[in-house]
């Protein structure tokens, strides 16, 4: 178990003061709210930690995910692999399908909206999904801005390739971060790269003088206080999952070892030929990542012949990369 210097409450104190600061310069709001507060939104992903969130396209896949021990499901119109193949504009999933999934399982339901698409997010909030993923897998609706997530009562998860992207999303009101990886490839290399970049950038902060940290905050385009909080914690101040290209139990365990709090598995499960066993195996390996014998056991549950074929990231043209969307 990892031990952090600050408790959840200490971190929330920081965000509460940030909210007070915003209120001081904007219209003052009553602080007596019970639901949709920063505390309630940041608390939700804490209970996903150590777990696997699986992409699904229908209720029967969602039931397989739940029975295997997934902590949540992400409802999509198409799996990222199919988004990549079909081309065209990728949008949020049909509300009817999301509702069907909501009625068929007890675990939390997440769904994706296009980057910057305020109204798709409002629709999903009204529908009652538990978390919204503002995702680069869908075609961005706004090339310049992300959604102002402080305005929502539902928590958001956002993708990031580096510390700057992560802290900007947190400062915009994101409650959870996931590495972008390169979705729909079955190739974990980009997820590894992004997780290592974030780790390296955080460790560099710890030895910085205040002056250097001010300069770094300007480069990262966030307040220096948020940078300082990250330096003290030696990790991102919100839950951070790995995503993009995770296809096997060993992939999941690798990302946990690199410091991820949990994993998203997109095409890796339902684009394989053994989704039921694979789902169980990835869950087992994620929660027992630091025990190689259990990861071995999990790895034995699947057959490499049945893994999704996968795409070598180097063969993708620059315009085919999803990760560069929304920085």
């Amino acid at each position: 178990m990892r031990y952090y210097e600050l408790s959840f409450w200490d971190i929330e104190n920081f965000f509460y003061k940030l909210a007070e600061l915003r209120d001081a310069v904007e219209r003052p709001r009553t602080r007596q709210e019970r639901v949709g507060t920063v505390l309630v939104k940041h608390a939700f992903p804490i209970f996903q930690k150590g777990g696997v969130i699986m992409d699904v396209t229908n209720p029967s896949q969602a039931q397989i995910a739940e029975a295997a021990g997934a902590v949540a499901v992400m409802v999509l119109d198409k799996l990222p692999y199919d988004v990549r193949k079909s081309g065209g504009v990728a949008r949020m999933a049909e509300p009817r399908v999301i509702e069907e999934v909501m009625n068929s399982v007890t675990i939390p339901i997440m769904a994706k909206v296009r980057i910057g698409h305020y109204m798709e997010a409002r629709v999903l909030e009204a529908l009652g999904v538990d978390m919204i993923d503002e995702s680069e897998v869908l075609t961005p609706a706004d090339e310049e801005h992300h959604i102002d997530k402080w305005q929502f009562k539902v928590p958001f998860v956002n993708g990031a390739r580096n510390l700057g992207e992560a802290l900007r999303r947190i400062y915009e009101g994101g409650s959870m971060i996931r590495t972008k990886g390169e979705a729909g490839t079955g190739n974990v290399s980009e997820a590894v790269k992004h997780m290592k970049v974030v780790n390296k950038e955080i460790s560099e902060l710890s030895s910085m003088s205040h002056e250097d940290m001010l300069k770094r905050a300007r480069e990262l385009q966030v307040p220096v206080e948020l940078v300082r909080l990250t330096a003290t914690l030696r990790r991102l101040p919100v839950v951070n999952f790995a995503a993009g290209g995770i296809a096997t139990p060993a992939d999941a365990a690798l990302m946990m070892w690199l410091g991820a709090d949990g994993v998203f598995v997109g095409s890796g499960i339902f684009k394989s030929e053994d989704p039921e066993e694979r789902a169980k195996a990835v869950v087992l390996a994620t929660s027992n990542w630091d025990d190689p014998e259990i990861v071995l056991e999990a790895q034995k549950m699947i057959s490499e012949k049945k893994s999704m074929m996968g795409i070598d990231v180097k063969t993708l043209k620059p315009e085919e990369l999803l990760q560069v969307r929304g920085s």
């Binding site: 990892r2 031990y3 409450w9 997934a70 949540a72 869950v283 027992n288 025990d291 259990i294």
Partner: protein, 199 residues
């Protein structure tokens, strides 16, 4: 004193932090250990079952072969503290407001719970509860997709209530909350549990 935390999934690191705080503020010499395997259970004097997804916790406890053993040691007196999903795991009766799915549970406390009683994340809330009964005073805590304790019977006593519903209960050495003390400002709830373990 060795306290285990079921460390598959959920708020186990947050419990770790608060347990250490509670130990140092009560000057208790102790160690906190993650529990994942059968052998881990054999050396501990108490166990915390954290918040998370109760279905996931159940699936993993069965898969790792500790579900039956843990039930046995709790029945024979091992102190246990379950929060949110942990409370669901401890209840003898569990129902879901919407979907009926059979899930593996420990079933050791005389209480009935309804999962996701308040609704989805949209309905999750924070509230100041009055925990003077256990010496914690008034504390702001989050309830995240929380269950409700719909009924208690037998020796189970209600320690803290909110709007007429029990939110913290105790039966002998077993303690359950539907809220998250590990996300609060105080280690008092963990301190209360440590006192149970010491007895």
């Amino acid at each position: 004193m060795k306290i285990g935390i079921l460390a598959y999934q959920g708020s186990f690191e947050e419990h770790f932090h608060h347990l250490r705080l509670a130990m140092s503020s009560s000057e208790t010499q102790g160690e906190v250990l993650p529990v994942r395997k059968l052998n881990d259970i054999k050396v501990i004097d108490g166990i915390i079952i954290p918040g998370g997804e109760s279905t996931t916790l159940g699936v993993l406890m069965r898969r790792m072969g500790i579900l039956d053993e843990l039930r046995e040691v709790i029945r024979s007196g091992l102190p246990v503290f379950g929060t949110c999903a942990g409370a669901i795991m401890l209840a003898k009766e569990s129902a879901d407001a919407k979907v009926k799915m059979e899930q593996p549970l420990l079933g050791v406390m005389d209480m009935a719970v309804v999962r996701n009683y308040y609704g989805r994340q949209r309905e999750s809330f924070q509230e100041t509860i009055d925990a003077t009964s256990i010496g914690a005073g008034k504390v702001l805590v989050p309830f995240i997709r929380a269950p409700v304790i719909s009924k208690v019977w037998g020796p189970t006593e209600i320690l803290v209530q909110l709007e007429g519903r029990p939110v913290m209960v105790r039966e002998g050495n077993a303690l359950a909350t539907t809220f998250h003390p590990e996300l609060s400002s105080t280690p008092s709830f963990h301190g209360y549990f440590l006192r149970l373990v010491k007895r």
